[in-house]
Structure formats: structure tokens, C-alpha cells
């Protein structure tokens, strides 16, 4: 199996804070990779390095390489805008555009690419919202503001918005933390469906979720990658004692 995203000696800093310490990880194509680890271990920072979102923060720095299909996204020839259209992201906190309608939120990325054909846009809105398990709830209020819906619905709207631009890889930062079990199950189904076409990286605090959906699991601790492997192996027979402690909840 090919690797979609590979990091080589990746370090990330917030000013003086060294948040990611020399990580080498291989994210396989057309699979779901879960990243787990205690709060503050650098999960969000790691995936933000994978679509050049880390550097937009003030004082943030990245060293090392991140290869997307073998090409270093941090090389000077790479346009970060292009990288971000190929690698989409759903953030930890829902962030729909409040001044846009639900419809406009979904097609915001397509409009950036100059798409004006409303038939196409209509079709994308319906398809993306259905994929994100939100269509039935909002199909009669597509003109309502993007923030007029509940937090969980907003998060699914953000997922739909990221899917609408058809990225090659999708990075999800705890997408289900604000969702009820039914919506969570729908999102997990969605990830399963998407895996044929996309490469998916999901950060989660929910062990069961990682065990359910992920093909591969990475365990991080204090900015380092402790263990990476096939999910079943990581959960049932981890190589490191730290991983086992974390997974069985005997941590700290």
C-alpha cells in the first residue's frame, strides 16, 4: 500500500514551545488513521503540519519534511494554497461562516475556485450534506445562517464544507466531540464510505471510536510518536508499555 503523507524528522514549535519532536509517520492511502494520546500531546499540531495550517499561527514554526505523494509540501516551490485544497481539514471547534447561509457555507470552497454553475453547486450541496449526515435536518432551511443550527450540526456542516472541495486527504480533529451517538455513528459510516476515495486522518479521544473506524492507529505522548501500527495490534498487543497503559486507562 502506498503512503499518502509521510513526515520525516518533523518538528513544530510555538515560539519557544517545542510541540512536535522529530516525528516520522507514514499515513497510508485510502485508509483511516487514528491519532490518539492525552490532551496537549500534540495531536492537533501534528495534523496541522500536514496541510500547512500550523504556520498561520503567530510565532509558529515547522522544520523537517512532510511528503504528500512524495513531494515535500514545505519546499519553496510548493504553494500552501494548493496543498490545502488537496488536504482538507475539519477543526476541533466548529467554525462555519456566520454571515453565510448553510448553502453558501458548503459551496464556499467551490466558489473560491470560480464555480458559478448553480446546477453543479446545488448538486454538490445536496451530495456533501448527505455525506455529512446533515441533509435531512437542514434541507428546508438552506438559506438560514451557518450558525443558526446546533453545535453538532455546525460540525457536520464543516465536514460537508470540507468534502465539497473534494480533497485527496481529509484531516479531522476530534470531529465527533460535540456529537450525539447517532450523529457520531453517521460520521463513522461516512468515514468508512470515504475511505475508498480519500485518505483520512482522525484525531480522537474516544478509544472505542479509534478501534471501530481506524485501520491504523498512532499513539502520541509529549510531542513524540510512541507507537504506530495496525489498529488491532496497537489495541490488543502494543509494543510499548506506555501505549498499553494509555489504552487500558491505567495512565499517569
Amino acid at each position: 500500500m502506498d503512503d499518502k503523507i509521510v513526515t520525516q524528522g518533523l518538528n513544530a514549535y510555538f515560539g519557544d514551545v517545542h510541540a512536535i519532536k522529530g516525528i516520522d509517520i507514514h499515513i497510508p492511502s485510502n485508509a483511516i488513521t487514528a491519532i490518539i494520546g492525552p490532551s496537549g500531546c500534540g495531536k492537533s499540531t501534528l495534523i496541522r503540519c500536514m496541510n500547512r495550517m500550523h504556520e498561520v499561527m503567530r510565532g509558529a514554526r515547522v522544520t523537517g519534511k512532510v511528503l504528500l505523494d512524495g513531494q515535500d509540501i514545505y519546499s519553496s516551490q510548493m504553494d500552501p494554497v494548493l496543498v490545502r485544497t488537496k488536504v482538507g481539514m475539519v477543526f476541533q471547534k466548529p467554525n462555519p461562516f456566520p454571515t453565510m447561509s448553510i448553502y453558501d457555507n458548503v459551496v464556499a470552497g467551490m466558489r473560491l475556485n470560480g464555480e458559478r454553475n448553480w446546477r453543479k453547486l446545488d448538486a454538490v450541496v445536496e451530495r456533501s450534506l448527505k455525506l455529512a449526515a446533515l441533509w435531512d435536518e437542514v434541507k428546508h432551511q438552506l438559506d438560514a445562517s451557518g450558525v443558526s443550527i446546533s453545535g453538532g450540526q455546525q460540525q457536520r456542516l464543516c465536514i460537508a464544507r470540507a468534502l465539497a472541495v473534494e480533497p485527496e486527504a481529509l484531516l479531522l480533529d476530534e470531529p465527533c466531540s460535540a456529537l450525539d451517538p447517532i450523529a457520531t455513528a453517521k460520521i463513522e459510516d461516512l468515514l468508512f464510505d470515504l475511505k475508498d476515495k480519500y485518505t483520512i486522518v482522525i484525531v480522537t479521544h474516544n478509544m472505542q471510536q479509534a478501534a471501530r473506524v481506524a485501520d491504523f492507529t498512532a499513539f502520541m505522548y509529549l510531542g513524540e510518536l510512541v507507537e504506530f501500527g495496525v489498529t488491532k495490534k496497537v489495541f490488543e498487543n502494543p509494543d510499548k508499555e506506555l501505549t498499553e497503559k494509555y489504552i487500558t486507562g491505567r495512565f499517569g
Binding site: 467554525n95 462555519p96 461562516f97 475556485n113
Partner: protein, 320 residues
């Protein structure tokens, strides 16, 4: 009289001794302000009574201001105020938003602070200074380059007729634009800086460029605040007196050419109150009443708009 309820009575406002004096004196000061505004309005209505009775609503549409015949109409000055304010807003708003975008989105941190302070400082420069600068620095530039150029380019429109003299509605509009830029730019900057980082990240993650992120995430999110900032600037332009008097040429007539001198409401009052008597004085005060109403409406509107987005509006010359 020794009331020793001690700590327990702290929760309710104490109603005795020094506290009572303090409470009443503060309340008195507040009431005084209200009374002052009320007295101002009553006095203005009272003093403009003669003019109001004589001209009625025709005062607002009358185009003649002739002390010899004792005929007074405010239209040329309403026209002049609206026109110069219009020029100021047309030129000032895009520049201000550009400055605000630079300060909030693009400027490196070490430059942002000092530059913002300078912009805010410009809002505090007395208008007579702007007036002097306009007369001695801006006017020659207008007469020698800007106005001849515009005349050669747009001379066929009614807006650029007559010879460039430099003391005209256009120069007044430009100096007003320069005066409202600091206000609009600094309030807009505050509104843009209040946009959550997550909004910018949302746009960036969809593949937006820096420009697209600003348009999609920042300007639209902050639009109420920016709109309020513009109205604040408008308020200042409407009420500005000194700098306009010094540059507008003071002609009590309506003319569409920006290169002709004109007159605004504020500038008319400043120019004429000294020698005005009888009906003319009454008419002047009625002009003041109209100006007061316009400026008040603009300010209330601005406060409503900005208040939705920001708790406190930075202190700026508000035009009243």
C-alpha cells in the same frame, strides 16, 4: 446614631452619611448633562422660532440666502454638507479599510502597534491644524496638479466646470476625507482584530489565498463594525467646521461643479453668527437645528451598529 450592622449590610447600597452625599452629587452631575442637552434643544427651537414661523418647511428647500432681502433658505448648505461629506466618504472609506486590513491582517507585529498608535493620534489632531495644512500644502497641489488633471479628464461632466482655484468643495471634501480616515481606520481595525482566528483558518483550509481569506472570513464577519466605523466617520464629516470653512470658499449658492466654492451648514454658522441679527440670526440657528438633527441621527445609528460588535468605541472626534 451608631449604626453597626457591620459587614452584613454591605450587600445593599448604604443609604447614609458620606455615601448619600456621594450618590446625590454623582446623580446631580448626570442629571445636569441631561438638562444641558434639553436646554440646548429648547433654546435652539425657541431662538429659531421667528425663522420657523416665517419660512416653515420651505426653509429646507429654499435656495436663496439673502440678508438684504431678509430671505433665507437652507438648501445650499444642506447640499454643500451632503456633497462634501459624500466626497469625503467616497475617498476616505476605501483608503481607511485598506489601512485597517493592512494593520489587522498583514502588518508584522512590530509595526502594527506603532502604526496603529500613529493612526489613532491623527484622529486627535485639532481640525484647525488640518485646515492650515490644507490651505498651505494641499491647496497649491490641488490648484497646480490635481484639479487641472481632473478637469482635462472629466471636464465634460457638470462636476468639473470652472477654473481651478483650490478653495472649493473638492478641496474641502479631500481634507474631510483625510480627517475621517483615522477614525474609520482605527475602529475598523478593532472590528477586524475581533474576528476569531478560527474564521481565518476555516477559509485558509478551503484553499483561500490571503486576499480571499480577508474578504471571506474577515471583512464579512466584521462588516457591522466596519459599517459603524464608516458612520462614525460620516458623523465627523457632517459636523466638521473649521477645516471646511478654511477650504470651501464660502459661497452661498448651489452649484454642481466641485471646482466651485460652496458652503456647508457648520461653516455657514461659523462664518455668519458674528454679524447676524434678527431674522438672519434666527435662520442661522434653525440651520444649526437641522445640523444637530442630522449629526445626532448619524451618531445614534453608528452607535447602534458598532455596539452590536464592540463593547466600547475608541474615543474619536465624533463630529458633534
Amino acid at each position: 446614631m451608631a449604626k453597626r450592622k457591620g459587614l452584613r449590610s454591605r450587600r445593599r447600597p448604604p443609604r447614609f452619611g458620606g455615601d448619600l452625599v456621594f450618590e446625590y452629587s454623582v446623580m446631580g452631575a448626570a442629571t445636569l448633562t441631561l438638562a444641558l442637552v434639553w436646554l440646548l434643544v429648547v433654546r435652539m427651537v425657541f431662538d429659531s422660532q421667528a425663522s420657523i414661523e416665517r419660512f416653515g418647511f420651505g426653509f429646507l428647500s429654499g435656495g436663496v440666502w439673502d440678508p438684504n432681502r431678509d430671505v433665507y433658505g437652507a438648501l445650499p448648505f444642506i447640499f454643500g454638507t451632503l456633497l462634501t461629506t459624500g466626497i469625503a466618504v467616497l475617498i476616505g472609506v476605501p483608503l481607511s479599510i485598506g489601512i485597517a486590513v493592512y494593520l489587522s491582517e498583514l502588518a508584522p507585529p512590530w509595526l502594527r502597534g506603532p502604526l496603529s498608535s500613529v493612526v489613532e493620534l491623527l484622529a486627535a489632531v485639532p481640525s484647525v491644524i488640518y485646515g492650515l495644512w490644507a490651505m498651505y500644502t494641499l491647496r497649491p497641489v490641488m490648484v497646480n496638479s490635481v484639479e487641472p488633471f481632473l478637469k482635462s479628464l472629466l471636464g465634460w461632466t457638470p462636476l468639473f466646470q470652472g477654473d481651478p482655484v483650490g478653495l472649493d468643495k473638492f478641496t474641502a471634501g479631500i481634507i474631510l476625507a483625510i480627517m475621517i480616515i483615522p477614525t474609520i481606520a482605527s475602529v475598523s481595525k478593532e472590528a477586524m482584530m475581533a474576528v476569531p482566528e478560527s474564521q481565518r483558518e476555516a477559509a485558509l483550509s478551503l484553499g483561500a489565498t490571503r486576499y480571499e481569506t480577508t474578504r471571506m472570513a474577515v471583512l464579512s464577519y466584521a462588516r457591522s463594525g466596519i459599517f459603524g466605523a464608516c458612520i462614525l466617520g460620516l458623523g465627523r464629516a457632517v459636523g466638521e467646521t473649521m477645516a471646511v470653512t478654511m477650504t470651501i470658499g464660502n459661497a452661498n449658492k448651489i452649484s454642481w461643479s466641485l471646482l466651485d466654492p460652496g458652503q456647508t451648514m457648520a461653516s455657514l454658522i461659523a462664518n455668519n453668527w458674528g454679524e447676524a441679527q434678527g431674522l438672519q440670526l434666527s435662520a442661522l440657528i434653525e440651520v444649526g437645528l437641522v445640523l444637530f438633527a442630522v449629526a445626532l441621527a448619524v451618531n445614534i445609528f453608528a452607535r447602534l451598529m458598532v455596539g452590536r460588535f464592540m463593547k466600547n468605541i475608541p474615543a474619536t472626534g465624533g463630529g458633534l
